[in-house]
């Protein structure tokens, strides 16, 4: 059991985290953040599938992701 927290206002919408999450637990939010990007959003309801592998955080150029396990 693990989960991630995405700081939506830091996120610039590159979607590297979405591309590389091996469990496909991240999607594009349908509401924009303070600067106008559509940030990445963690699928809270699928939290039980997150392994805490940190791949999303490793690829984030804006250090917008924290991982908890």
């Amino acid at each position: 059991m693990a989960y991630i927290k995405i700081d939506a206002d830091r996120c610039k919408g590159c979607y590297f985290c979405i591309k590389f999450c091996p469990k496909q637990l991240i999607i594009v939010s349908d509401t924009h953040n303070k600067v106008g990007y559509f940030p990445a959003q963690f699928l809270q309801e699928k939290e039980d599938q997150c392994t805490g592998c940190k791949t999303c955080a490793l690829m984030c150029p804006d250090t917008a992701i924290e991982v908890f396990k």
């Binding site: 059991m1 693990a2 989960y3 830091r10 610039k12 919408g13 590159c14 979607y15 590297f16 591309k19 590389f20 990007y37 805490g52 940190k54 791949t55 955080a57 490793l58 690829m59 984030c60 150029p61 804006d62 250090t63 992701i65 924290e66 991982v67 908890f68 396990k69």
Partner: protein, 250 residues
């Protein structure tokens, strides 16, 4: 549950000016992590070149010196010789290091200055609008090579990691990439290795990092990762081109 990944202390909380998806951001993060893992933040001084890395001092909480375009290796030489107990690194782009600063880097490397260089190869002058750099690939269109780089008039993309590896003063020269998770981990290991060379007084160390400039390449951030894989790596192979194991140069 416990927090298992967060921002390393030496990376400031400032939001960066980098374009969305620019891997300069990943390079800054792994550099700060490397500094913290080695526990050298209080004695490390960074010298960013001129280019998109120019605001490094906002993002990495260490002392920095801003060098004129291309001159970071000369500044680092003076800094290291004056304060040999400090860990000195340059962070230079390909326009900065492989064009205007070619002379400085080659002679600093050849003198075996005990400094570390982080070299960001994104195949263009990113900051000024994507002009051709010495690293621009053959056929690559840029604002100053609108028909694609042609070797007959512009020569060939320069391979800095291989070239510097031929110099006696060089202790470590490697090329890494940031386009996949595995590569990001390898890039961080290479940065740590380069700093260890300096800590052990082995001589000059350099890590060339293949990095994206999706804005000037005119592709999406994710497409830019594929450009590294399919276009850059075939010409700029990844690997360690020199790694000194003992002080065999003495």
């Amino acid at each position: 549950m416990e927090k298992i990944f967060t921002r390393t202390p030496t990376l400031t909380s400032s939001e960066t000016h980098f374009c969305p998806g620019c891997t300069h951001g990943i390079a800054h993060r792994i550099l700060a992590e490397a500094i913290d893992e080695l526990g050298i933040a209080d004695r490390t001084i960074g010298i960013p070149g001129v280019g998109c890395c120019v605001f490094l001092y906002y993002y990495i909480a260490i002392d920095t010196l801003e060098a004129p375009h291309g001159r970071a290796p000369a500044c680092a030489t003076g800094m290291k010789r004056a304060q040999p107990d400090k860990i000195i690194f340059n962070y230079q782009g390909d326009g900065d290091m492989a064009a205007i600063g070619t002379s400085e880097i080659i002679h600093a490397a050849n003198r075996g200055e005990n400094i570390t260089v982080i070299f960001i190869n994104n195949s263009v002058y990113g900051m000024t609008g994507g002009q051709m750099a010495p690293t621009t690939l053959l056929g690559q269109q840029t604002t100053t090579s609108p028909y694609g780089r042609n070797f007959q008039t512009e020569g060939y993309p320069i391979k800095m990691a291989e070239m510097l590896a031929t110099l006696e003063g060089v202790a470590y020269s490697a090329r890494v990439s940031l386009h996949k998770p595995k590569n990001v981990m390898q890039a961080k290991k290479a940065i740590i290795k380069a700093f260890e060379m300096q800590i052990n007084q082995m001589g000059f160390s350099m890590v060339e990092i293949l990095s994206t400039c999706n804005t000037n390449w005119r592709v999406s951030p994710i497409e830019a990762l594929d450009v590294i894989e399919n276009e850059m790596i075939p010409y700029f192979p990844l690997g360690v081109f020199k790694e000194r194991t003992g002080k065999d140069f003495l």
